[in-house]
Amino acid sequence: MKDMLASMRTPRGLFTVALLLVFALLPLLTEAFGQRYLLSVGTRIVIWSIAAVSLNMILGYGGLVSFGHAAFFGIGGYAVGILSANGLGSGWLQWPVAILASAAWAAVIGALSLRTRGVYFLMITLAFGQLVYYLGSGLEAYGGDDGLNISRSRFAGLIDLRDKASFYWLCLALLCATLWFCSRFAVSRFGLVLRGAKSNELRMTALGFPVFRYRLAAFVVSGAFGGLAGVLLANEGAYVSPAMMSWVKSGDLIVIVVLGGIGVLFGPLYGTVAFFALEELLKPGLDLLHKGWGEYWQVVFGPMLVLIALYARGGIDSLLGRRDG
């Protein structure tokens, strides 16, 4: 407890606490200032943060560059969509099914992909992501390319997901749970083995750890949380489509994790906020410079990513001061 209080007094701690405070108060703030739109942006930031935290578990702690993480958005989302289209609207059924389906998919592709290394791993996860994408767009009964309008999951008497503020609170609570899990995960024996294998696989193998099985387990856990984010994303827009699992979304998730700081607990949070804020700020900012330029914000955003990759190792987290150890 003492350590925690001390770490809160550093710039990083203050920044994180301030960020979480803004998150916690967002519905009240947007209500007070009449900015309903910002609440939906906020909801999406929270959901993407969950996905980014889940990617960080394997990418950050495991060093496994998975380029197919958006598939879990799709599997989680489509599980909700398909069940609701067939009249099974209960969240008590939908959510576990969606998360189990994501975990199962993660187990299958993990078992195949983790046999490969480096670029091959990156490419095979990318290809599996595309496989799910094409399967989704081939689901003609569920909208095909156009996607599917769904009714939000029902938790009778407990919470109404159609209410924007309650849905936001729920997402935030789930983000906190995910972060809590990740913080335990990172310092557990399991997490330490995973991090050890990231820095030296051969050594961990020589020490007798079944590295493959540890990685596979991490992949499954990460996929399950990714599926949860997919469930929430489907409920946010009451809509699922193959576009939510295109490879560009997987790329966005990697960008977010790297932008925030790889293998840092709150990194994905910083990254998601920065990613969405950049989009929301660059557009009006460029319009201010010259009318009509805002539309082309990615001309600026793209080179920014190049510069971040080249000169800002450690992402936003490293801007908040050195880490000890």
């Binding site: 990418l59 560059v65 380029f67 195949l112 992909s113 046999r115 490969t116 290394r117 480096g118 670029v119 091959y120 990156l122 490419m123 095979i124 990318l126 290809a127 599996f128 595309q130 496989l131 094409y134 399967l135 767009s137 081939g138 003609e140 009964a141 095909g144 490879w247 560009v248 790329g251 990697i254 960008v255 790297v258 790889i262 082309y296 914000w297 990615q298 001309v299 955003f301 793209g302 080179p303 920014m304 990513l305 190049v306 971040i308 990759a309 080249l310 190792r313």
Partner: protein, 304 residues
Amino acid sequence: MDYLLIQMLNGLQLGLLMFLLAAGLTLTFGIMDLVNLAHGSLYMMGAYIAWTLIAWTDSFVLGALLALPATFALGVVVEAVVMRRLYARDHLDQVLATFGLILFFNELVRMIWGPAGKSIAVPAFLSHTVEILPGVPYPAYRFALIVVGVIVAVLLAWLVARTRLGMLIRAGASNRRMIAALGVNIELLFSLVFGLGAVFAGLAGLMAAPISSVKIGMGDDILILAFVIIVIGGIGSIKGAFVAAMIVGQIDIVGRAFLPDLLKTFMAPAAASSAAPAISQVLVYILMAGVLVWRPTGLFGQRS
């Protein structure tokens, strides 16, 4: 039977096009150890530059010939400004930076050429059909694509297997620190190889333009297919890229052509014809997964 032949030729033509794209990618991958997601952007830029030059010169051949040095120059500039700084970095940095380049190029194209797609007309002297077998007509342009594809593939094979540059490329792919230590000007070599890859990508883009269309993001989806091809073939192997491109071309086209009929035997016709393209795409990825499970470094990849 004729139908099968025509579909197989279409598959061959797609395969050759994919090979052009994959050849540059596998070289930069194998030699510079660079994950270049922006390779598809070079494909797109090739098509757009060709569109402009063809409109300007009013001749397909002249425009296309001028577009090749232009894409080479673009490749060399991209290499000098961005890629050169990425060789020593890990793959994650490369993914991030080249992902940024994709966003940049897509938006740049939208700024310069506008959001609407462009079309390049099939040149007049190739707009007829040729009889590949008595009584079996085939579009002359597609036939020309096959011819050009084969010529370029042979040229590339000759370049890699028989010339000094090719020798350095092969040496670089197997041990680049060693050839640097032997006094080869590695910066020049990398620059050349990247430019060469850009030319092949641009050529593929401009040749595909008359049969598909020139649009923003046209390189993004085909890039994934090119990655699949080089992974199946084994990274750094030109031969592997060629074999894999041929297989993928056949699966994609023949799958598209024959799956609907196959599916109709047990599915509703409408559902069958809409599911078939998706399934033939999926087949390609299943093939890749199968190859990687069997050989984790691809068909012709070096065992590490």
